[in-house]
Structures are given as structure tokens and as C-alpha cells.
């Protein structure tokens, strides 16, 4: 299984989004994460879909199928070119006064931010690649109790 990131430009129109998402379920493809919003041209939306596939042929089929949708303007597999990829994580931990120093240190190493804190909870924001965020969660999980997690899903952009 391999992860692939597809960047899709589509008409910002009624039904366009559901057609793209529907295509994945219709054909049994998997969606790991999806982000979408209008671009600087408000008639066009940009969508980033992270998917897990068995082989390259399936990515090819997904790309071709996406192109077949009338609303789709462009499909790019960005993972294979130099690109920047980001995801945001908001994570709420149970505040444990003995472990807080540790948490702050780890968060610093990951260039994260503490965005909210109460007597009982702490909320941290991490930005980075999908992998960085997964790593952070793995480390923090070991000694702290995670109360809630919100991940944005990946956005990506080609360097050129």
C-alpha cells in the first residue's frame, strides 16, 4: 500500500465536490484525507486528496477517472514532484503538572505552539507534514492522555 497526494482543481459549482468524493466511493478507492477551498479565482476550487492505493495502475485510473468528470480542470499527483505539504493538528491533552515541562519541550522541538491552557487541559497546535504530525502524536501519546484530536488533512502545492 502506498500513500498518494492528488491536487485537483475543479469548478466551484453545485455538485462538483460530491462528484469527486462520489467517484472514490463508487469505484472503491480509499480517501485518507481531503481538504478543499476556493482559490484566488473564486470560480475554481482546489482540493487535496490523500489516498492509499495498492499500485501505480490504480493511481493512473483515479487520475483518468477524475479527468473524466466534467467539472474537473486539472489533476496533479504532487507527491512525485518537489512540493510543500502541510497539515495542521490541534491536540487536547489532559494537563498533568509533572509532565508539562516534557510536553513543552517536545512541542518546541516540533515547532508547535500551545494555543490554550486551563487547569485541566492543554491544547497544542502543530503544523507540518503528515508524517511529522503522526510522529508527534506517537511521542506525546506515550506519557500523556490525549483527550481529543483534530487534523485538517493535507494541503499541498508544487514548488514550480
Amino acid at each position: 500500500m502506498m500513500h498518494k497526494i492528488l491536487s485537483i482543481l475543479l469548478e466551484n459549482e453545485f455538485g462538483a465536490l460530491s462528484r469527486v468524493i462520489g467517484l472514490f466511493s463508487q469505484r472503491g478507492y480509499n480517501i485518507e484525507s481531503v481538504t478543499v477551498s476556493p482559490t484566488e479565482d473564486s470560480s475554481i476550487s482546489q482540493m487535496t486528496i490523500q489516498t492509499k492505493v495498492e499500485n501505480e495502475n490504480i493511481v493512473e485510473q483515479i487520475k483518468k477517472q477524475l479527468y473524466k468528470l466534467i467539472n474537473v480542470l486539472q489533476v496533479q499527483e504532487i507527491g512525485i514532484f518537489p512540493h510543500i505539504e502541510r497539515e495542521i493538528l490541534l491536540i487536547k491533552l489532559k494537563l498533568d503538572h509533572e509532565k508539562i515541562k516534557d510536553v513543552i519541550l517536545i512541542t518546541k522541538i516540533f515547532k508547535g505552539k500551545i494555543v490554550h491552557i486551563t487547569n485541566k487541559t492543554i491544547i497544542i497546535q502543530i503544523t507540518g507534514t503528515n508524517k511529522k504530525i503522526t510522529d508527534y502524536i506517537q511521542i506525546i501519546k506515550k506519557k500523556n492522555k490525549i483527550l481529543e484530536i483534530a487534523r485538517s488533512g493535507i494541503i499541498g502545492i508544487l514548488k514550480n
Partner: protein, 575 residues
Amino acid sequence: MKMLSGSEMVIKSLVKMKVKYLFGYPGGAVLDIYDALKTVPNSLKHILVRHEQGATHMADGFARATGKVGVVLVTSGPGATNSITGIATAYMDSIPMVIISGQVASHLIGFDAFQECDMIGISRPIVKHSFLVKKTEDIPETFKKAFWIASTGRPGPVVIDLPKDILDPLIKKEYIWPENIFIRSYQPIISYDPKKIEQIIIQLLIAKKPIIYSGGGVITSHSEEELLFLAEKLNIPVTTSLMGLGSFPGTHKQNLKMLGMHGTYEANMAMHHADLIFAVGVRFDDRTTNNLLKYCPQAIIIHIDIDPTSISKTVIANISIIGDAKQILKQIIHKLNKQKIENRQKILQKWWNKIKKWKDIQSLSYSKSKTYIKPQSVIKCLWKLTKGNAYITSDVGQHQMFTALYYPFNKTRRWINSGGLGTMGFGLPAALGVKLAFPKEIVICITGDGSIQMNIQELSTAKQYNISILIINLNNNALGMVKQWQDIHYFGRHSHSYMNSLPDFLALAKSYGHEGMKIEKKEELKPKLKTAIQQLHKNNLIFVDIIIDPLEHVYPMQIKGGGMNDMQLKKRETV
């Protein structure tokens, strides 16, 4: 500037698109359109069906026979949902169709209003595209776009969902018909890579055991003449898919007939042993490939198709060209004509000798019966009586396969059948659509006792508009194809494949106002069929109920999970 209501715009746009027939059924959401229809009784004819599925299949039959867009009008909710099977049928076979569905008023959408259903959502996986029109003034442009999308590239059905409020006869808006439209994200492919033409020609010329595999795409792109020319020039045998019947003349000596699950022995053997498969407008459907792992091991595969997603989806192509088959074949012929071509009879002599041996097995022979009429003989008889010129629609089952195998279609668009979805209930309404398109031609619906009952209510539509088709019911008192599978794969355990309560079809046809005829004896077959065909000229619909051998199976048949060459030619006696 012309001021029109939404409903008037719908009608005017249809007239502008030169739509001749509108197949539909009224209801609350579209009553304004029905009212506006009254203003154009001559240019646009509405055919009132008895079930919305019938409307879609009629439009589909019309489209398949003419190549034009078939148009359907249904109301919201149940009208829209009833049309779904017909839309899926058209989608699977790439048939151009526009389905206009009424929708509840905009302010009620999402409130579970009376007869509301999310037509865009429900139809999404089975349409090429869909539109929910939000403003009255958008109607003309949407219609033009819908017809353009439906009929270009790989054709397909397009839904236009119209909320009731935008159709209001009292609200008039400017009607602007766009002479040109541009859809930024839809540019159907017209160009192709010319370098590949050279590669293809080389392969075609060096192959020792080539075969052309022709499909529905050849018919859609009108490239049958080019295909014939190329096949004859290079002396290459041709096999066609179920959808490709007629794309190469059925009686041509190079035609090995249909391939696949119920393909002929020679077609499947030639495919298996070929060193080159030249596939045009086919999608390597699983009914034509058998087990992909054992598929045509020696063959280089050249694949021409308009739809990029068809290329290398199941079978990996060695050379592929995405584009219009006609243009590509023309280019191949053009370049080929400039070359000196060696004697093709001689080069392919060995290959043709092999094919002849496979042909000599006569896989389409069948055992005769003293008592029963054999379904194969019915089809052969029809072929003789119509000289192969009839338009034939079929339903789904054994009768469909018998027709495909025993009626050689010499022309395109004469074989009208639901290949992709395999929709029982397709045959009768489709035949009505074909007959409306070609009133002077003989149109025959070949059906089974199971299939005909799925849309039999359309006999009433046929009566209303005097549509004189011939219905041939191959009556085996069973869901024959299901029974055949149960014979082969379930040790003859027949679970729910019998129709124990068939109606008296003659009485039924008569009650709808048609002629009925029953054929039970072998010797009656020819004279009665002849009479039936002659009577068609009196503008009657004739329902012929033919009692056939109930134990007959369709053969040849591929063995499940095998290669193209794993075939069973006759019924095993143990069954």
C-alpha cells in the same frame, strides 16, 4: 429580446435542438412544461409512456438507432427514481441522452417536501454529468451544454433537474439562445499522437496471427467503413463484441462473429492464439475476457478508444491511442496506402488455415428436436425473412444470446440491446423508440417470457401511437438464462427460475388492442412468421408467442475462470 417563462424556454430550447420526440410522463413538478408543450404540437412530439423506465428505454432505442440524443421528461420524486434503471442502461452503453426531471420549488429543496428527491445525488454515479438549474435565464444555456456533453466524446446521459419555481408561467425572463458555448473543464479529445500511427502500421504488417476486435465504439464513431477497408486490405479476421455487432458485416467471410462468454469457437480461439489484437472501441469487458490472468498470452495489444479510462483498465495495452476511432483509422489507412504491401493472402495463409479448422467445428450447430421448436431456428428464420435488414431489439437472457449469435447484422445500429447493464425490460420500449425513428422499417423485439413482463405496460403506449412492431416472445416458461446457470453451476437445482403463472400472452396483447399469434409446432414457424411480418404493414403491433424447447442452453460457452480458449461447445448429458 424575447421574454419567456421557464417552461417556454424548455420547450423552445428543445425545438432549437431539433428534438423530434420527447418521451415522458407528467406530474406536479413539470405541469408547467406540459402546459407549454401545447404550443408546439407539430415540431416536438410528446410520447406518453406508461412508466418512466419505459420513457428512458424508448429514448435510448431512438438514440441507438439514429445516433441522435434521446430526450426524456419526468416529474420529481417517483418519476425521477423510476427513470434510474434506464439512465444506468444508457450510461453503461455510452448512449447520448438528456433527462429533464422536475424538482420541487427551490425554497422547498432539502425539506423533504412532497415528491422531493435528490435526483442529482441519486443519479450521480450513472450520468456523464448533471445540472441543477437555479435561475430561469440559465435554462437555454444549460440545455445547449447538456446536449453537447451528452453527444460528444464518449457519449452518455445528462440530467437536467428543474425546480418548479423557475418554470412559473407568470415569470418571464429574457430568452437568449447561445450560439456557441464553452465549457472550460470539458474539452472532448480530438487530437492524438501521430507517432503511434507508424508504430501501429508496423505491428499490423509484421503480425503473423493478427485479429481485429471491434466494439460499440466503432458504431458510435461511424468508423465501420474504415474498419472494413482496413480489414479487407490487410486480410485480417474480425471478431466483434456484443455491442459491436454490425460494426463489421455479419456475413462477411472474414467475420468470426462474436467473442467472449458466449462467443463462437473460432473467435475465442483466434483471440487466444493471436500475436496481435487490434482493438477498436472496446473496453475489454469481463464478459469478453474470461480470466484476465490467462488472457491471450502471446498477443501484442493495440487499443484505440475515445475514453482514456478504458485504456489499460483491465487488459494492459502495448500501444494505445486515445481519440476518435474514425480519424485514427483514416490516418492509418492514409499512411498504409502509401506503402507497398506484400501479398496478404500468402502471409496470413497459415493463420487462415488454422481459423478454418476452428470454424469447421461449427460451434453454432445445434441438435434438432422432433417435438420442440428450437430458439436458434426462430432467429435463423427471422433472418431469412427479413434478409438481415430489420432493426432488432432484445431483452436479456438466452434469447438475447441466440439473437446475437444467429442473426448476422450487416449494418450498424440495427442491433439494439442492453449490453453493459443487461437490463430486462429494455426490449419492448426500445423497439418503440426505434420504430418512431424509422416508421417504414421492420422493427422486431426479441424477448423472453420473463423480460417482456418487466415493461409490458408499454403495449398501451404502442396502441396509443399505433407503433407497429413485431414482438417475438421466445417462451420457455422459465427465466431461461438463470436456469441455465443453475444447471451448470448449481447441479440443476432450479431456485426461483420458473415462471409458473405466465399470462395468456395472446389475450394480453389483444386486451391492449394488438394482434396476437401463437406458434407451437415446428412446421408452423416459417409460414406464421411470414404472415406476421406481412401484417406489420397494416400498422398493427403483432405479439408472437413461440413455445420453444424449454431445456435448451446457449452454447458455445466459456468455462468460468479459464482463458479465451477454454470452451464448452455442447450441453453435458449428465445435466
